[in-house]
Amino acid sequence: MAAFGSFCLLIALVLAAYNLVAGSVALRLIATGRPARISPERLADTARRAGIAGFIAVSGAAFALVWAAFTNDFSITYILEHSNRALPIPYKFAALWSGQEGSLLLWAWLLGTYGFILRLRHKTDVKLYAYAGTILAGVQVFFLLILNFAAPPFSLLPGYVAGGAIPADGNGLNPLLQYPEMVIHPPMLYLGYVGFSVPFAFALGALMMRYPGEKWIRITRAWTMVTWLFLTCGIFLGMHWAYAVLGWGGYWGWDPVENASFMPWLTGTAFLHSVMMQERKGMMKSWNVWLIFSTFLLTMLGTTLTRGGLVSSVHAFAQSPIGTWFVVFMGIVLAVCIFTYVLQRSHLHTEHHLESLVSRESSFLFNNLVLLTACFVILWGTLFPIISEYVQGTKVTVGAPFYNRVAVPIGLFLVFLTGVGPLLPWRATSFKAIKRNFVLPVIALWVTVIVCLAVGVRPWKDGALDSGSFYALVAFSVSAAVLTAIASEFLRGASVIARQTRRNLFAATWLLMRRNTRRYGGYLVHIGVVVVVIGLAGTAFNQSVESEMGLHSTMRIGPYTLEQVGASQDSNLNYSSEFAMLDVYQGGKKIYQITPERRFYLASGQPQTMVAIHSTPEWDLYVVYEGTNPDTGLPIIKAFLNPLVGWIWFGLVVIVFGTFVALVPSLTPATAALRVPAAQAAPMAPALKGGD
């Protein structure tokens, strides 16, 4: 299987290289109109077919690696290091992305899959797709070069090659990765990372060919949104994994790898917003092109930083010396982007300018500004240890306190814009309009401030500013304002429809959303973001307590009392475990039992905590069995009461739903009319017409 996998990778490289070279030659011939022996169109089509065949070859390699994991082929070094016989079946799949070589193969396979879909849909616009396909082939060549020469996933054990025996069992998967989310978190994240290659390829291709109009944006809109959604889900699944597995009670530690995933998300989000300006008004063309270039480069930068060993990360299981490859590739990509931009920048001149500082267009601009500042802060924080070492010879740590102080205010300003932006009309606004749209949100803001103060949120403690509580207060109040603003937008539109079609408000809201899915899907995404922010703000009120707990000893946290009623042990072929059984009482009444666990994985010889979490909308009771005190033999239990964490995960659900709504085509006015009974059909107010 190792030989088959290696062969597939080699074939895939040859095919991708052919796609790149033949595609480039064909497009050059088409662009210059120079006569050639072979028709450039046919040459381009052979390149496209090579791309499709390349996908099959990479799929073969991915299949070979998974098959090797399933058949316990420990003659392959990668399988020996990342799998073992007793590993449960879902984690055998996870072995594909649990190490450097496998995750690069996953990257190449996903890139191949995206390319495959793109090449099948080439009839949408043959020339533009040919450009995009050729650029994707260039990216694929890079990954396949690494897979063939720098980080081959099918390399055999040196001892086995020398005629030695194959080890009876593997070293097993890193225990941190043996958690259900790890089966879907990395593929989601990679789908996001890799997916941004597609809008990048279209943007670069459109610029190279001086593609007329903004059609390429419409073509890539669904790609970009789906990619963004994958990246969002990947990031949140990673947060949930960290929360449930690492056992420190948090979900985001500002680790360089987390930062690496967040940066392209920020620029991608900025792109999704600003691209609307180009689509609708022909503005910000250069800006958009550079946003998508930057997003693509940032997906590469994250890998370069963490896997190249430039910055230390808890994700150390993925380090290797391939950083140089990435640096060189990024340099080449940047050079191509700059060269193309300089050559074709006249094609990107803006058609209109902003008319007012207070308008929808300006809000997009400010939104982009804030998103990019946030991205800069994170990049800066991630790189500062390296810069500091270079400048003053000493490395410093840039941890959570830095980001909390710098990034949180920026994030809150962004939430504020989330509410303000959609309330502003295009072009310009009037004082009257501002007053009309903002009265309710401002009232909601101040009511929330008062309520928060009344229930005990204090931004000032011991004569000093308590930044956590202060930011939480701001977050709650701004969130309330934004939710009110969005809700009033829905209500305004729905009440007009309800009047015109004599439907109830709920049905009218549904129709409103269907008539302009893009707009109201976007609002739903904003609601999801606000719900997430409310959940994040709850961190300021986390409580924790740690104690050794003998039988029937108790621990109090918040309204709960935990009583240790026993401890037990279990084992299977993969791990042995010990766990504590804790009865949870509230108001003197037992409400449930919780069983935090500590596992010891046999193959790797590493311990791992399995946190017990009981979630309610109000808070999570989060209990960690940290092990036993070697002196007393008593279990050490750490309990956290984390308010509002469930809101974060619920916010993701709303974001996903909103994105799906935005992806669904709006009802056309004609279709909409069919859905309104003839007797009730009335001329639609312009504000409620379909389309985007």
């Binding site: 420190w248 009670g249 530690g253 680790d255 609307m276 609708r280 008004k281 300018h353 902003l354 008319e355 007012s356 500082l357 929808r360 300006s362 601009l365 400010f366 500004l369 802060v377 800066w380 924080g381 500091s388 400048v391 003053q392 490395k395 410093v396 740590t397 840039v398 941890g399 959570a400 306190p401 830095f402 102080r405 920026i410 959609p422 009309p425 295009w426 072009r427 009037s430 004082f431 501002i434 007053k435 101040w446 401030v449 103060l453 204090r458 931004p459 403690k461 011991d462 302009n516 893009r518 707009r519 109201y520 899907g521 976007g522 609002y523 960690v624 940290e626 050490i636 504000a687 389309g691």
Partner: protein, 169 residues
């Protein structure tokens, strides 16, 4: 309109400032543990890349030592800065969870805000240059009426239609 808008925003800023002042003055003082605060300003040195106050490894070789050093410093009446300095002297600058505000480290704190301020200023100046301020803005309807060229009128009318309030999100 400009005057009204100015008065509105001025009043909004005044109310906000007043409210923030009230919020702060209402601050109740539940005693915060200095140990907890300081342990979140330091990194655990066991290599787990976690804050000292959040390191949860049983048998961590450094957590207890650091926490005990912290408790000793607090008990000895040392100031926060003196305690942090003693940690830096023992473990090096990487023990601090964030850069200090002295010397080159200050750049870490200043740069983000400087970049944001510069970008904000640049954006505002750009919009001003485009005629967004100073009463240069015209509504599309006005422009349509003012324009004498039929092609211009048609184009402006199209813009007005496309960017009307029925526009997408």
């Amino acid at each position: 309109m400009a005057f009204h808008a100015f008065r509105f925003w001025t009043r909004a800023v005044e109310i906000t400032a007043l409210a923030v002042a009230i919020c702060f003055s209402m601050g109740a003082s539940t005693p915060t543990s200095r140990l907890n605060t300081l342990s979140h300003m330091l990194m655990c040195q066991c290599g787990c890349a976690q804050l000292l106050g959040e390191c949860d490894h049983v048998g961590c070789p450094d957590r207890d030592t650091e926490l005990s050093m912290l408790s000793t410093g607090i008990a000895a009446g040392m100031t926060d800065q003196q305690i942090l300095d003693s940690f830096v002297a023992k473990y090096g600058a990487t023990v601090l969870a964030a850069p200090t505000t002295k010397g080159f480290d200050l750049v870490a704190w200043v740069a983000p805000f400087a970049v944001f301020a510069a970008a904000l200023l640049g954006t505002i100046l750009l919009i001003r240059r485009w005629g967004g301020l100073g009463g240069k803005a015209h509504s599309a309807a006005t422009l349509v009426a003012e324009s004498s060229d039929p092609a211009d009128r048609e184009r402006l009318e199209r813009i007005r239609r496309e960017t009307g309030s029925d526009g997408g999100f």
